[in-house]
């Protein structure tokens, strides 16, 4: 009798020591597999809808930086075939026009970037071009911010600073209705 009771005492509990390990394993599994989805992207403000196309013919030609992307994903910048690699630098030079050249924008406030694509243009190419143009503006804003306020430009800097910079170099990008080429 005494023997059985000692047996009971030995076996009446499941060893819960490994429970922690199991739970740890699960925890690590969840930690590794769940990727916190980072939502990032290029912010764009679309123009309000209007039935008629804005007329850009009355703008001076020197103030318009036209970028065309065709259905073969080729670039035509201000009437000449171009490469995406120097698009940003060209746009920057055009907007600021440091040497006051007669064929570039009169003032940054007057500069207009016109982007036009075909319906057959790949989205990837379009976004790359848009990215470069935005980068041009971002770099210009950054330069101006350092020059004027001595701090780098960022989205969450003081509102007054940002406004002052944005007023000096406004972001004007007009997108024309695409031409119906290369639609699949």
């Amino acid at each position: 009798m005494a023997k059985t009771s000692s047996r009971d005492r030995m076996n009446n509990e499941i060893n819960a020591g490994s429970m922690a390990d199991i739970a740890f394993l699960l925890l690590i599994f969840f930690l590794v597999t769940t990727t916190i989805v980072e939502d990032k992207g290029i912010m764009v403000k679309l123009p309000p809808w209007s039935e008629e196309e804005p007329d850009i013919t009355k703008l001076k030609e020197r103030n318009v930086f036209s970028v065309l992307v065709n259905a073969q994903n080729q670039l035509l910048v201000r009437g000449e075939p171009s490469n995406i690699d120097n698009l940003k630098d060209r746009a920057k030079e055009f907007i600021r026009n440091p040497q006051n050249r007669p064929d570039l924008a009169e003032r940054p406030t007057k500069a207009i970037i016109s982007l036009k694509n075909d319906r057959g243009t790949e989205y990837k190419t379009y976004l790359e071009v848009y990215n470069e143009l935005k980068a041009a503006y971002n770099e210009l804003w950054d330069e101006l911010s350092r020059q004027k306020f001595g701090i780098p430009y960022s989205e969450d800097m003081a509102f007054a600073y940002k406004k002052a910079i944005r007023e000096e170099i406004p972001f004007v990008l007009s997108e024309a209705e695409p031409t119906a080429f290369g639609e699949e």
Partner: protein
């Protein structure tokens, strides 16, 4: 002396680890609840392009997602291989965009509504035709804040 130490040894003064599993489970549940899984199952293939000038979307509740891409292989028999748009968890046509936007809008308090952002998750290989159509619909619906979803590029433009 010997007797004394023997008695102590038998007592085994151990810290109880019985509650350790409970603590770990609590951590586990915390992580399981906090990590939000993607709410909609993707029916189109979306591989967003890479870009450098990215802005982070701060408030998730203010964002509605529009997916554009080719249908996944298992849906191709039914929907073909042409790029399609997905709203919520189903394929949708362009004329369903205003209703989709409105449904999202009514869930938010009025003060927050002007800050709604539409996140366009578009596959890089898709042509601009459908993207333009979607953009036009968004403009017509008055939803002008748009975010072209993109992945960060390796060689990032730094402001230093």
């Amino acid at each position: 002396m010997a007797k004394f130490s023997k008695k102590r040894g038998k007592a085994k003064p151990e810290v109880s680890t019985a509650s350790l599993p409970d603590i770990i489970f609590m951590l586990l549940f915390f992580f399981m609840v906090v990590t939000v899984l993607r709410d909609a199952e993707l029916k189109v293939q979306v591989n967003t392009p890479r870009a450098t000038e990215l802005t982070k979307l701060e408030e998730k509740s203010m964002v509605n997602y529009l997916y554009i891409g080719r249908p996944q292989p298992r849906y191709q028999e039914l929907y073909g291989t042409k790029p399609r748009m997905q709203l919520g968890d189903k394929f949708a046509n362009l004329n369903e965009i205003p209703i989709f936007l409105e449904k999202h809008k009514v869930k938010l308090p009025e003060a927050k509504r002007p800050r709604i952002i539409s996140s366009l998750r578009v596959d890089g290989e898709v042509t601009m035709g459908i993207v333009t159509d979607v953009k036009t619909e968004l403009r017509k619906a008055g939803q002008l804040k748009v975010n072209y979803s993109a992945k960060p590029k390796a060689e990032k433009f730094t402001r230093n």
